[in-house]
């Protein structure tokens, strides 16, 4: 053992620990992954049991709207990743602009989602509606899971957007700077998680027909 090791107190003007902060965020993201993981498991089982009904119901979904939303989310993932690069390089103005683009993309995603859901509502496919009641068991399960999982995902998009708005305020107040950007990085991690979940939702619901 080397007894001469000098310990620099962490609170010598820098009383924070970025690595732990990031680890905390990752631990939280794991709970999110397992939350959606459980839902995917439910989907897998019912898809296995009601194979034909799932295919039938999936035809009703609009592949192109789903594809556009995938591209929108991927773009927003890139802009938020780039905003971290900009902040690390000390360009907070560019960083701010890129976060605004990300929030704008989140808005587009939700608007497209709104039109998609409205079309389903018009066809009475929401659980509890007229037409939904006459569907086969498997199709009902498909729509139930579709609304629940994309709904929960959309909720995450909204929360991610609010988180990013908070980050924008922190940048404006200089609470996030070139040498202190963990909040931005964590919000980025959250946003990428939202993207990750959509990466699986999209093929499983829209592309199975």
């Amino acid at each position: 053992m080397n007894m001469d090791t000098t310990f620099v107190l962490p609170n010598s003007g820098h009383n924070r620990d970025d690595m732990s902060s990031k680890m905390g965020m990752w631990l939280f993201l794991f709970t999110e992954l397992l939350l959606f993981g459980g839902l995917f498991l439910v989907y897998m089982i019912y898809r296995f049991m009601y194979h034909e009904d799932f295919l039938e119901a999936s035809l009703e979904l609009n592949v192109w709207m789903g594809t556009i939303n995938t591209v929108v989310l991927l773009t927003s993932s890139m802009t938020v990743a780039m905003s971290i690069t900009a902040m690390q390089k000390g360009n907070s103005q560019l960083s701010l602009r890129l976060i605004w683009v990300t929030i704008f993309a989140a808005g587009i995603f939700l608007v497209i989602k709104f039109f998609e859901w409205s079309a389903k509502f018009e066809h009475g496919l929401f659980p509890g509606m007229e037409h939904y009641g006459h569907l086969a068991n498997g199709e009902r399960l498909f729509y139930f899971l579709y609304f629940f999982m994309t709904g929960l995902h959309a909720l995450h998009v909204i929360i991610g957007g609010i988180f990013l708005l908070y980050v924008i305020r922190a940048i404006q107040k200089q609470k996030i700077r070139k040498d202190k950007y963990m909040l931005l990085e964590n919000s980025g991690l959250y946003w990428h998680l939202v993207d990750l979940i959509w990466i699986y939702l999209f093929p499983l619901f829209y592309l199975i027909n």
């Binding site: 690595m19 897998m44 991927l74 780039m82 040498d179 592309l207």
Partner: protein, 105 residues
């Protein structure tokens, strides 16, 4: 025990991912998306293949997002190790649940 680096608080040198690398990552992700949509829309007759391909491509996309956008490639190894634990955990749960459903009937 190395000396603590309060300047970054990260405990290791921070690697800045370039704009160019993010842009290439984005293009790779778009190409994979085009692939998966093409396979689904135009390869519908190859049913089982399509589902597996779709899942494989989705996992490829997920890995790209995790490695590049989420910085796992350049970050401390511990984050990658933790993510593996969660993935293996989920696979075990999924396999056991599926086995249960298949064997019971």
């Amino acid at each position: 025990m190395n000396e603590y680096k309060p300047s970054t608080g990260q405990g290791h040198d921070v690697h800045i991912v370039s704009y160019r690398e993010h842009a290439s990552t984005f293009i790779a992700l778009i190409l994979l998306t085009v692939m998966t949509v093409t396979v689904s829309v135009f390869g519908a007759d190859l049913y089982t293949l399509t589902v597996l391909t779709a899942l494989a491509i989705a996992s490829g996309k997920a890995i790209v997002v995790a490695l590049y956008f989420m910085h796992l490639k350049y970050d401390l190894k511990i984050f990658r190790a933790m993510l593996w634990v969660v993935i293996v955990l989920f696979i075990v749960f999924a396999a056991l649940t599926l086995a249960d459903y298949m064997i019971r009937n």
